[in-house]
Symmetry: C2
Subunit: 268 residues, 2 copies
Amino acid sequence: MTRAELFEQIQKKQSFLCVGLDTDIQKIPMHLLNEEDPIFAFNKAIIDATLPYAVAYKPNIAFYEAHGLKGWASLKKTIDYLPKEVFTIADAKRGDIGNTSGMYARAFFEEMSFDSITVAPYMGIDSVTPFLEFKNKWVILLAATSNPGFANFQSLTLANGKPLFEQVIQTSAQWGTADNMMYVVGATRPETLREIRQVIPDHFLLIPGVGAQGGDLKAVCDAGLNAQCGLLINSSRAIIYASSGADFAEVAAREAQKIQQEMAGFLK
Amino acid sequence: MTRAELFEQIQKKQSFLCVGLDTDIQKIPMHLLNEEDPIFAFNKAIIDATLPYAVAYKPNIAFYEAHGLKGWASLKKTIDYLPKEVFTIADAKRGDIGNTSGMYARAFFEEMSFDSITVAPYMGIDSVTPFLEFKNKWVILLAATSNPGFANFQSLTLANGKPLFEQVIQTSAQWGTADNMMYVVGATRPETLREIRQVIPDHFLLIPGVGAQGGDLKAVCDAGLNAQCGLLINSSRAIIYASSGADFAEVAAREAQKIQQEMAGFLK
Protein backbone atom coordinates (compact mmCIF):
# COMPACT_ATOMS: atom_id res chain seq x y z
CA MET A 1 0.00 0.00 0.00
CA THR A 2 1.27 3.50 -0.82
CA ARG A 3 1.23 6.48 1.52
CA ALA A 4 -1.37 8.18 -0.67
CA GLU A 5 -3.64 5.13 -0.50
CA LEU A 6 -3.28 5.00 3.28
CA PHE A 7 -4.14 8.68 3.62
CA GLU A 8 -7.14 8.18 1.35
CA GLN A 9 -8.47 5.47 3.69
CA ILE A 10 -7.85 7.71 6.69
CA GLN A 11 -9.89 10.50 5.11
CA LYS A 12 -12.64 8.15 4.02
CA LYS A 13 -13.08 6.49 7.39
CA GLN A 14 -12.14 9.61 9.36
CA SER A 15 -9.96 7.35 11.44
CA PHE A 16 -6.32 6.52 12.00
CA LEU A 17 -7.07 3.60 14.28
CA CYS A 18 -5.08 0.39 14.11
CA VAL A 19 -6.62 -2.62 15.82
CA GLY A 20 -4.03 -4.87 17.44
CA LEU A 21 -4.82 -8.54 17.06
CA ASP A 22 -3.02 -9.80 20.19
CA THR A 23 -5.31 -12.78 20.19
CA ASP A 24 -4.83 -14.91 23.30
CA ILE A 25 -6.66 -18.21 23.47
CA GLN A 26 -6.96 -17.75 27.25
CA LYS A 27 -8.76 -14.43 26.88
CA ILE A 28 -11.20 -15.01 24.05
CA PRO A 29 -14.84 -15.81 24.84
CA MET A 30 -15.36 -19.41 25.96
CA HIS A 31 -17.96 -20.24 23.34
CA LEU A 32 -15.36 -19.77 20.58
CA LEU A 33 -13.31 -22.66 21.90
CA ASN A 34 -15.73 -25.00 20.14
CA GLU A 35 -14.76 -23.56 16.77
CA GLU A 36 -12.30 -25.47 14.61
CA ASP A 37 -9.87 -22.52 14.75
CA PRO A 38 -10.89 -20.36 17.73
CA ILE A 39 -8.17 -17.75 17.14
CA PHE A 40 -9.21 -17.15 13.55
CA ALA A 41 -12.90 -17.22 14.48
CA PHE A 42 -12.21 -14.48 17.03
CA ASN A 43 -10.13 -12.40 14.59
CA LYS A 44 -12.73 -12.73 11.85
CA ALA A 45 -15.51 -11.49 14.15
CA ILE A 46 -13.33 -8.61 15.42
CA ILE A 47 -12.35 -7.59 11.87
CA ASP A 48 -15.94 -7.71 10.59
CA ALA A 49 -17.14 -5.64 13.54
CA THR A 50 -14.41 -2.98 13.60
CA LEU A 51 -13.78 -2.56 9.86
CA PRO A 52 -15.87 0.63 9.52
CA TYR A 53 -13.74 2.32 12.19
CA ALA A 54 -10.19 1.07 11.59
CA VAL A 55 -7.70 1.67 8.77
CA ALA A 56 -5.06 -0.80 9.96
CA TYR A 57 -4.76 -4.18 11.67
CA LYS A 58 -1.72 -5.43 13.51
CA PRO A 59 -1.44 -9.11 14.41
CA ASN A 60 1.11 -9.53 17.19
CA ILE A 61 3.12 -12.41 15.76
CA ALA A 62 4.23 -13.82 19.14
CA PHE A 63 0.65 -14.72 20.01
CA TYR A 64 0.48 -16.94 16.92
CA GLU A 65 3.98 -18.43 17.17
CA ALA A 66 3.19 -19.53 20.73
CA HIS A 67 0.83 -22.11 19.19
CA GLY A 68 3.34 -23.46 16.68
CA LEU A 69 2.00 -24.76 13.40
CA LYS A 70 -1.63 -24.21 14.43
CA GLY A 71 -0.84 -20.61 15.31
CA TRP A 72 0.80 -19.97 11.94
CA ALA A 73 -2.25 -21.41 10.24
CA SER A 74 -4.48 -18.98 12.18
CA LEU A 75 -2.19 -16.10 11.26
CA LYS A 76 -2.20 -17.01 7.57
CA LYS A 77 -6.01 -17.23 7.54
CA THR A 78 -6.18 -13.85 9.28
CA ILE A 79 -3.91 -12.03 6.83
CA ASP A 80 -5.74 -13.66 3.90
CA TYR A 81 -9.06 -12.53 5.36
CA LEU A 82 -8.09 -8.88 5.88
CA PRO A 83 -9.47 -6.77 3.02
CA LYS A 84 -7.06 -5.08 0.58
CA GLU A 85 -8.07 -1.56 1.64
CA VAL A 86 -6.71 -1.90 5.18
CA PHE A 87 -3.04 -1.43 6.03
CA THR A 88 -1.65 -4.62 7.58
CA ILE A 89 1.21 -4.71 10.05
CA ALA A 90 3.14 -7.82 11.06
CA ASP A 91 4.17 -6.85 14.58
CA ALA A 92 7.18 -9.12 14.55
CA LYS A 93 10.12 -6.98 15.76
CA ARG A 94 12.49 -8.79 13.41
CA GLY A 95 16.00 -7.77 12.31
CA ASP A 96 19.16 -9.76 11.52
CA ILE A 97 22.15 -9.74 9.16
CA GLY A 98 21.36 -8.99 5.51
CA ASN A 99 20.63 -12.42 4.06
CA THR A 100 18.56 -13.33 7.13
CA SER A 101 16.51 -10.13 7.13
CA GLY A 102 15.87 -10.89 3.47
CA MET A 103 14.37 -14.22 4.52
CA TYR A 104 12.13 -12.52 7.09
CA ALA A 105 11.03 -10.10 4.36
CA ARG A 106 10.04 -13.05 2.18
CA ALA A 107 8.17 -14.61 5.11
CA PHE A 108 6.01 -11.56 5.81
CA PHE A 109 5.80 -9.84 2.41
CA GLU A 110 5.60 -12.85 0.08
CA GLU A 111 4.63 -16.00 1.96
CA MET A 112 2.15 -13.77 3.80
CA SER A 113 1.05 -10.53 2.16
CA PHE A 114 1.57 -8.02 4.96
CA ASP A 115 2.01 -4.37 3.95
CA SER A 116 4.54 -3.75 6.69
CA ILE A 117 6.62 -5.27 9.45
CA THR A 118 8.00 -3.88 12.72
CA VAL A 119 11.80 -4.09 12.82
CA ALA A 120 14.31 -3.66 15.67
CA PRO A 121 17.17 -1.26 14.85
CA TYR A 122 20.02 -2.65 17.00
CA MET A 123 21.81 -4.47 14.15
CA GLY A 124 21.88 -1.40 11.90
CA ILE A 125 21.64 -0.73 8.18
CA ASP A 126 21.99 -4.18 6.65
CA SER A 127 19.34 -5.56 9.02
CA VAL A 128 16.80 -3.01 7.76
CA THR A 129 17.43 -2.36 4.06
CA PRO A 130 16.47 -5.87 2.81
CA PHE A 131 12.88 -5.10 3.86
CA LEU A 132 12.97 -1.84 1.89
CA GLU A 133 13.62 -3.59 -1.40
CA PHE A 134 9.99 -4.68 -1.67
CA LYS A 135 7.78 -2.28 -3.60
CA ASN A 136 4.99 -0.60 -1.61
CA LYS A 137 6.01 -2.49 1.52
CA TRP A 138 7.02 -0.75 4.73
CA VAL A 139 9.48 -1.03 7.58
CA ILE A 140 8.12 0.24 10.89
CA LEU A 141 11.29 0.74 12.92
CA LEU A 142 11.34 0.72 16.72
CA ALA A 143 12.40 4.15 17.95
CA ALA A 144 10.99 5.08 21.37
CA THR A 145 8.84 2.27 22.74
CA SER A 146 6.21 2.60 25.45
CA ASN A 147 7.42 -0.09 27.86
CA PRO A 148 9.49 0.34 31.05
CA GLY A 149 12.61 -0.99 29.27
CA PHE A 150 12.66 2.24 27.20
CA ALA A 151 14.75 3.64 30.06
CA ASN A 152 17.52 1.05 29.73
CA PHE A 153 19.01 1.91 26.34
CA GLN A 154 16.70 3.95 24.06
CA SER A 155 16.77 6.99 26.32
CA LEU A 156 20.52 6.95 27.01
CA THR A 157 22.36 10.11 26.04
CA LEU A 158 25.08 9.73 23.43
CA ALA A 159 28.38 11.58 23.45
CA ASN A 160 26.88 13.94 20.83
CA GLY A 161 24.18 14.95 23.33
CA LYS A 162 21.29 13.15 21.60
CA PRO A 163 19.22 10.36 23.10
CA LEU A 164 19.85 7.05 21.35
CA PHE A 165 16.30 6.85 19.96
CA GLU A 166 16.73 10.20 18.22
CA GLN A 167 20.00 9.04 16.65
CA VAL A 168 18.27 5.84 15.54
CA ILE A 169 15.63 7.90 13.76
CA GLN A 170 18.07 10.38 12.24
CA THR A 171 20.44 7.72 10.91
CA SER A 172 17.80 5.27 9.69
CA ALA A 173 15.71 7.93 7.98
CA GLN A 174 18.53 8.04 5.39
CA TRP A 175 17.98 4.36 4.51
CA GLY A 176 14.47 4.85 3.19
CA THR A 177 11.88 7.56 2.72
CA ALA A 178 8.60 8.67 4.24
CA ASP A 179 7.05 6.38 1.62
CA ASN A 180 8.52 3.14 2.95
CA MET A 181 9.44 3.78 6.58
CA MET A 182 7.43 4.50 9.69
CA TYR A 183 8.53 4.59 13.33
CA VAL A 184 7.19 3.15 16.56
CA VAL A 185 6.84 5.86 19.19
CA GLY A 186 5.20 5.21 22.56
CA ALA A 187 2.12 7.28 23.34
CA THR A 188 3.09 7.47 26.97
CA ARG A 189 5.61 10.23 26.04
CA PRO A 190 4.06 13.16 24.10
CA GLU A 191 7.16 15.31 24.78
CA THR A 192 9.23 12.67 22.99
CA LEU A 193 6.77 12.74 20.13
CA ARG A 194 7.23 16.49 19.75
CA GLU A 195 11.02 16.14 19.59
CA ILE A 196 10.69 13.39 17.00
CA ARG A 197 8.41 15.52 14.80
CA GLN A 198 11.27 18.03 14.56
CA VAL A 199 13.52 15.32 13.08
CA ILE A 200 10.97 13.61 10.82
CA PRO A 201 8.04 15.90 10.08
CA ASP A 202 6.64 13.73 7.27
CA HIS A 203 6.92 10.11 8.36
CA PHE A 204 4.01 8.12 9.70
CA LEU A 205 4.38 7.10 13.34
CA LEU A 206 2.85 3.97 14.79
CA ILE A 207 1.74 4.73 18.32
CA PRO A 208 1.08 1.81 20.62
CA GLY A 209 0.09 2.40 24.20
CA VAL A 210 -3.22 4.19 23.81
CA GLY A 211 -5.58 2.07 25.86
CA ALA A 212 -4.16 -0.66 28.07
CA GLN A 213 -0.81 1.10 28.34
CA GLY A 214 -2.46 4.40 29.31
CA GLY A 215 -1.67 7.07 26.69
CA ASP A 216 -3.82 10.11 26.01
CA LEU A 217 -5.22 10.58 22.50
CA LYS A 218 -5.47 14.37 22.55
CA ALA A 219 -1.89 14.86 23.74
CA VAL A 220 -0.66 12.46 21.07
CA CYS A 221 -2.58 14.23 18.30
CA ASP A 222 -1.45 17.68 19.40
CA ALA A 223 2.17 16.57 19.27
CA GLY A 224 2.13 14.16 16.35
CA LEU A 225 -0.41 14.95 13.61
CA ASN A 226 0.94 16.30 10.32
CA ALA A 227 -0.63 17.46 7.03
CA GLN A 228 -1.19 13.86 5.88
CA CYS A 229 -2.28 12.67 9.31
CA GLY A 230 1.07 10.92 9.92
CA LEU A 231 -0.23 8.82 12.79
CA LEU A 232 -1.52 5.31 13.20
CA ILE A 233 -2.73 4.75 16.73
CA ASN A 234 -2.94 1.21 17.92
CA SER A 235 -5.31 -0.19 20.46
CA SER A 236 -5.32 -3.89 21.19
CA ARG A 237 -6.68 -5.11 24.52
CA ALA A 238 -8.97 -2.10 25.14
CA ILE A 239 -10.90 -3.03 21.97
CA ILE A 240 -10.63 -6.76 21.43
CA TYR A 241 -11.19 -7.73 25.07
CA ALA A 242 -13.72 -5.01 25.91
CA SER A 243 -16.20 -7.80 26.54
CA SER A 244 -15.53 -11.47 27.19
CA GLY A 245 -19.12 -12.45 26.56
CA ALA A 246 -21.05 -13.51 23.47
CA ASP A 247 -21.36 -9.80 22.59
CA PHE A 248 -17.54 -9.36 22.30
CA ALA A 249 -17.58 -8.26 18.65
CA GLU A 250 -20.41 -5.80 19.15
CA VAL A 251 -18.70 -4.25 22.17
CA ALA A 252 -15.38 -4.14 20.30
CA ALA A 253 -17.12 -2.27 17.49
CA ARG A 254 -18.57 0.20 19.98
CA GLU A 255 -15.13 0.84 21.52
CA ALA A 256 -13.53 1.24 18.08
CA GLN A 257 -16.28 3.63 17.03
CA LYS A 258 -15.75 5.72 20.17
CA ILE A 259 -12.07 6.16 19.29
CA GLN A 260 -12.88 6.79 15.61
CA GLN A 261 -15.28 9.58 16.56
CA GLU A 262 -12.65 11.21 18.74
CA MET A 263 -10.17 10.87 15.88
CA ALA A 264 -12.56 12.46 13.39
CA GLY A 265 -12.51 15.55 15.59
CA PHE A 266 -8.73 15.77 15.47
CA LEU A 267 -8.59 15.25 11.69
CA LYS A 268 -10.52 18.46 11.05
CA MET B 1 20.58 -27.51 29.73
CA THR B 2 22.77 -26.22 32.61
CA ARG B 3 26.16 -24.56 32.22
CA ALA B 4 27.82 -27.58 33.87
CA GLU B 5 26.16 -29.94 31.38
CA LEU B 6 27.27 -27.78 28.47
CA PHE B 7 30.86 -27.69 29.73
CA GLU B 8 30.76 -31.46 30.19
CA GLN B 9 29.82 -31.89 26.52
CA ILE B 10 32.57 -29.49 25.48
CA GLN B 11 35.14 -31.51 27.39
CA LYS B 12 33.82 -34.81 26.10
CA LYS B 13 33.81 -33.79 22.43
CA GLN B 14 36.80 -31.45 22.79
CA SER B 15 34.79 -28.97 20.80
CA PHE B 16 32.88 -25.74 21.26
CA LEU B 17 31.52 -25.74 17.74
CA CYS B 18 27.96 -24.69 16.98
CA VAL B 19 26.61 -25.68 13.58
CA GLY B 20 24.30 -23.08 12.11
CA LEU B 21 21.33 -24.57 10.30
CA ASP B 22 20.71 -21.70 7.86
CA THR B 23 19.05 -24.17 5.54
CA ASP B 24 18.18 -22.59 2.21
CA ILE B 25 16.13 -24.62 -0.26
CA GLN B 26 18.01 -22.92 -3.10
CA LYS B 27 21.40 -24.05 -1.79
CA ILE B 28 20.83 -27.64 -0.74
CA PRO B 29 21.84 -30.48 -3.08
CA MET B 30 19.39 -30.98 -5.95
CA HIS B 31 18.75 -34.66 -5.23
CA LEU B 32 17.15 -33.75 -1.89
CA LEU B 33 14.37 -31.83 -3.63
CA ASN B 34 12.69 -35.18 -4.29
CA GLU B 35 12.31 -35.78 -0.55
CA GLU B 36 8.97 -35.11 1.10
CA ASP B 37 10.59 -32.46 3.34
CA PRO B 38 13.89 -31.47 1.69
CA ILE B 39 14.86 -28.99 4.44
CA PHE B 40 14.45 -31.55 7.19
CA ALA B 41 16.18 -34.24 5.09
CA PHE B 42 19.15 -31.91 4.69
CA ASN B 43 19.23 -31.00 8.40
CA LYS B 44 18.98 -34.64 9.47
CA ALA B 45 21.92 -35.63 7.28
CA ILE B 46 23.99 -32.66 8.49
CA ILE B 47 23.19 -33.39 12.15
CA ASP B 48 24.02 -37.10 11.80
CA ALA B 49 27.31 -36.31 10.08
CA THR B 50 28.52 -33.48 12.34
CA LEU B 51 27.27 -34.73 15.72
CA PRO B 52 30.68 -36.11 16.85
CA TYR B 53 32.25 -32.68 16.34
CA ALA B 54 29.61 -30.18 17.48
CA VAL B 55 28.13 -29.37 20.90
CA ALA B 56 25.45 -26.97 19.68
CA TYR B 57 23.07 -26.45 16.75
CA LYS B 58 21.50 -23.17 15.78
CA PRO B 59 18.61 -23.12 13.32
CA ASN B 60 18.25 -19.65 11.84
CA ILE B 61 14.51 -19.17 12.25
CA ALA B 62 14.11 -16.78 9.28
CA PHE B 63 15.04 -19.55 6.86
CA TYR B 64 12.10 -21.62 8.12
CA GLU B 65 9.59 -18.78 8.45
CA ALA B 66 10.23 -17.87 4.82
CA HIS B 67 8.40 -21.09 3.89
CA GLY B 68 5.38 -20.44 6.09
CA LEU B 69 3.62 -23.46 7.55
CA LYS B 70 5.85 -25.91 5.71
CA GLY B 71 8.92 -24.19 7.09
CA TRP B 72 7.62 -24.35 10.66
CA ALA B 73 6.96 -28.05 10.19
CA SER B 74 10.59 -28.55 9.05
CA LEU B 75 11.83 -26.56 12.05
CA LYS B 76 9.72 -28.58 14.50
CA LYS B 77 11.00 -31.84 13.04
CA THR B 78 14.55 -30.54 13.29
CA ILE B 79 14.33 -29.53 16.95
CA ASP B 80 12.61 -32.82 17.79
CA TYR B 81 15.36 -34.72 16.00
CA LEU B 82 18.27 -32.99 17.76
CA PRO B 83 19.56 -35.23 20.58
CA LYS B 84 19.20 -34.10 24.22
CA GLU B 85 22.96 -33.80 24.76
CA VAL B 86 23.41 -30.94 22.30
CA PHE B 87 22.72 -27.33 23.18
CA THR B 88 20.03 -25.93 20.89
CA ILE B 89 19.74 -22.28 19.91
CA ALA B 90 16.71 -20.67 18.26
CA ASP B 91 18.40 -17.87 16.35
CA ALA B 92 15.30 -15.73 16.31
CA LYS B 93 16.43 -12.27 17.49
CA ARG B 94 13.11 -11.75 19.28
CA GLY B 95 12.24 -9.14 21.93
CA ASP B 96 9.04 -7.20 22.69
CA ILE B 97 7.05 -5.83 25.64
CA GLY B 98 6.69 -8.19 28.60
CA ASN B 99 3.52 -10.13 27.79
CA THR B 100 4.65 -10.53 24.16
CA SER B 101 8.16 -11.71 25.02
CA GLY B 102 6.45 -14.20 27.32
CA MET B 103 4.57 -15.53 24.28
CA TYR B 104 7.81 -15.86 22.30
CA ALA B 105 9.32 -17.73 25.24
CA ARG B 106 6.40 -20.16 25.12
CA ALA B 107 6.87 -20.58 21.37
CA PHE B 108 10.53 -21.52 21.57
CA PHE B 109 10.86 -23.10 25.03
CA GLU B 110 7.53 -24.95 25.31
CA GLU B 111 5.91 -25.38 21.90
CA MET B 112 9.42 -26.21 20.66
CA SER B 113 12.00 -27.38 23.18
CA PHE B 114 14.95 -25.09 22.40
CA ASP B 115 17.51 -24.58 25.18
CA SER B 116 18.04 -20.96 24.24
CA ILE B 117 16.94 -18.08 22.05
CA THR B 118 18.77 -15.05 20.67
CA VAL B 119 17.14 -11.81 21.85
CA ALA B 120 17.58 -8.17 20.72
CA PRO B 121 18.23 -5.73 23.60
CA TYR B 122 16.71 -2.50 22.23
CA MET B 123 13.44 -2.72 24.22
CA GLY B 124 15.22 -3.23 27.55
CA ILE B 125 14.54 -5.18 30.72
CA ASP B 126 10.92 -6.24 30.34
CA SER B 127 11.62 -7.55 26.84
CA VAL B 128 14.31 -9.89 28.18
CA THR B 129 13.30 -11.10 31.65
CA PRO B 130 10.23 -13.14 30.55
CA PHE B 131 12.65 -15.51 28.80
CA LEU B 132 14.68 -15.87 32.02
CA GLU B 133 11.75 -17.25 33.98
CA PHE B 134 12.12 -20.66 32.34
CA LYS B 135 14.33 -23.07 34.27
CA ASN B 136 17.53 -24.17 32.53
CA LYS B 137 16.68 -22.06 29.47
CA TRP B 138 18.92 -19.31 28.18
CA VAL B 139 18.77 -15.84 26.68
CA ILE B 140 21.56 -15.12 24.21
CA LEU B 141 21.49 -11.34 24.00
CA LEU B 142 22.83 -9.40 21.02
CA ALA B 143 25.77 -7.30 22.14
CA ALA B 144 28.34 -6.61 19.40
CA THR B 145 27.29 -8.24 16.15
CA SER B 146 29.57 -9.08 13.22
CA ASN B 147 27.69 -7.32 10.43
CA PRO B 148 28.39 -3.90 8.87
CA GLY B 149 25.41 -2.38 10.73
CA PHE B 150 27.39 -2.78 13.99
CA ALA B 151 28.80 0.65 13.20
CA ASN B 152 25.41 2.39 13.15
CA PHE B 153 24.35 2.11 16.79
CA GLN B 154 26.14 -0.62 18.78
CA SER B 155 29.51 1.08 18.53
CA LEU B 156 28.28 4.61 19.32
CA THR B 157 29.91 6.24 22.32
CA LEU B 158 27.59 7.18 25.17
CA ALA B 159 27.90 10.32 27.27
CA ASN B 160 29.53 8.16 29.98
CA GLY B 161 32.32 7.28 27.55
CA LYS B 162 31.29 3.65 26.95
CA PRO B 163 30.28 2.16 23.64
CA LEU B 164 26.58 1.23 23.59
CA PHE B 165 27.29 -2.51 23.29
CA GLU B 166 29.33 -2.43 26.51
CA GLN B 167 26.52 -0.63 28.34
CA VAL B 168 24.07 -3.22 27.00
CA ILE B 169 26.21 -5.98 28.49
CA GLN B 170 26.81 -4.24 31.80
CA THR B 171 23.15 -3.36 32.36
CA SER B 172 21.66 -6.63 31.15
CA ALA B 173 24.11 -8.80 33.09
CA GLN B 174 22.17 -7.69 36.20
CA TRP B 175 18.96 -9.21 34.84
CA GLY B 176 20.25 -12.77 34.89
CA THR B 177 23.37 -14.74 35.67
CA ALA B 178 26.13 -16.57 33.82
CA ASP B 179 23.85 -19.60 34.19
CA ASN B 180 21.01 -18.24 32.07
CA MET B 181 22.50 -15.53 29.86
CA MET B 182 25.02 -15.56 27.03
CA TYR B 183 25.97 -12.78 24.62
CA VAL B 184 26.44 -12.58 20.85
CA VAL B 185 29.83 -11.09 20.02
CA GLY B 186 31.13 -10.89 16.45
CA ALA B 187 34.37 -12.78 15.75
CA THR B 188 35.45 -10.10 13.33
CA ARG B 189 36.47 -7.97 16.35
CA PRO B 190 38.87 -9.72 18.80
CA GLU B 191 39.73 -6.38 20.43
CA THR B 192 36.05 -5.99 21.27
CA LEU B 193 36.04 -9.49 22.69
CA ARG B 194 38.90 -8.61 25.01
CA GLU B 195 37.08 -5.54 26.33
CA ILE B 196 33.94 -7.60 26.87
CA ARG B 197 35.83 -10.25 28.85
CA GLN B 198 36.77 -7.50 31.33
CA VAL B 199 33.08 -6.81 31.95
CA ILE B 200 31.78 -10.40 31.97
CA PRO B 201 34.61 -12.86 32.63
CA ASP B 202 32.28 -15.84 33.25
CA HIS B 203 29.49 -15.68 30.68
CA PHE B 204 29.42 -17.83 27.59
CA LEU B 205 29.72 -15.88 24.36
CA LEU B 206 28.18 -17.00 21.09
CA ILE B 207 30.53 -16.05 18.30
CA PRO B 208 29.13 -15.98 14.79
CA GLY B 209 31.28 -14.96 11.91
CA VAL B 210 33.96 -17.64 11.91
CA GLY B 211 33.82 -18.99 8.39
CA ALA B 212 31.75 -17.17 5.78
CA GLN B 213 32.03 -13.86 7.66
CA GLY B 214 35.84 -14.21 7.96
CA GLY B 215 36.86 -14.36 11.65
CA ASP B 216 40.04 -16.00 12.91
CA LEU B 217 39.70 -18.87 15.39
CA LYS B 218 43.03 -18.37 17.16
CA ALA B 219 42.48 -14.66 17.77
CA VAL B 220 39.00 -15.36 19.13
CA CYS B 221 40.24 -18.08 21.49
CA ASP B 222 43.14 -15.95 22.75
CA ALA B 223 40.76 -13.14 23.60
CA GLY B 224 37.68 -15.05 24.68
CA LEU B 225 38.33 -18.44 26.33
CA ASN B 226 37.78 -18.69 30.10
CA ALA B 227 38.18 -21.47 32.69
CA GLN B 228 34.94 -23.15 31.61
CA CYS B 229 35.55 -22.57 27.91
CA GLY B 230 33.03 -19.72 27.77
CA LEU B 231 32.75 -19.76 23.98
CA LEU B 232 30.42 -21.26 21.43
CA ILE B 233 31.70 -20.63 17.95
CA ASN B 234 29.20 -20.83 15.17
CA SER B 235 29.85 -21.83 11.61
CA SER B 236 26.97 -22.12 9.19
CA ARG B 237 27.66 -21.83 5.47
CA ALA B 238 31.33 -22.97 5.64
CA ILE B 239 30.14 -26.33 6.99
CA ILE B 240 26.68 -27.02 5.66
CA TYR B 241 27.37 -25.84 2.10
CA ALA B 242 30.97 -27.09 1.87
CA SER B 243 29.79 -29.38 -0.92
CA SER B 244 26.66 -29.11 -3.01
CA GLY B 245 26.98 -32.67 -4.30
CA ALA B 246 25.70 -36.02 -3.09
CA ASP B 247 28.65 -36.07 -0.66
CA PHE B 248 27.46 -32.90 1.16
CA ALA B 249 27.09 -34.56 4.58
CA GLU B 250 30.45 -36.28 4.39
CA VAL B 251 32.20 -33.05 3.41
CA ALA B 252 30.33 -31.15 6.14
CA ALA B 253 31.58 -33.71 8.66
CA ARG B 254 35.14 -33.25 7.41
CA GLU B 255 34.89 -29.46 7.75
CA ALA B 256 33.38 -29.75 11.23
CA GLN B 257 36.10 -32.19 12.26
CA LYS B 258 38.79 -29.80 11.03
CA ILE B 259 37.42 -27.05 13.26
CA GLN B 260 36.96 -29.46 16.19
CA GLN B 261 40.60 -30.54 15.97
CA GLU B 262 41.73 -26.93 16.02
CA MET B 263 39.45 -26.31 18.99
CA ALA B 264 40.84 -29.31 20.89
CA GLY B 265 44.24 -27.63 20.71
CA PHE B 266 42.93 -24.44 22.27
CA LEU B 267 41.06 -26.29 25.04
CA LYS B 268 44.31 -27.71 26.48
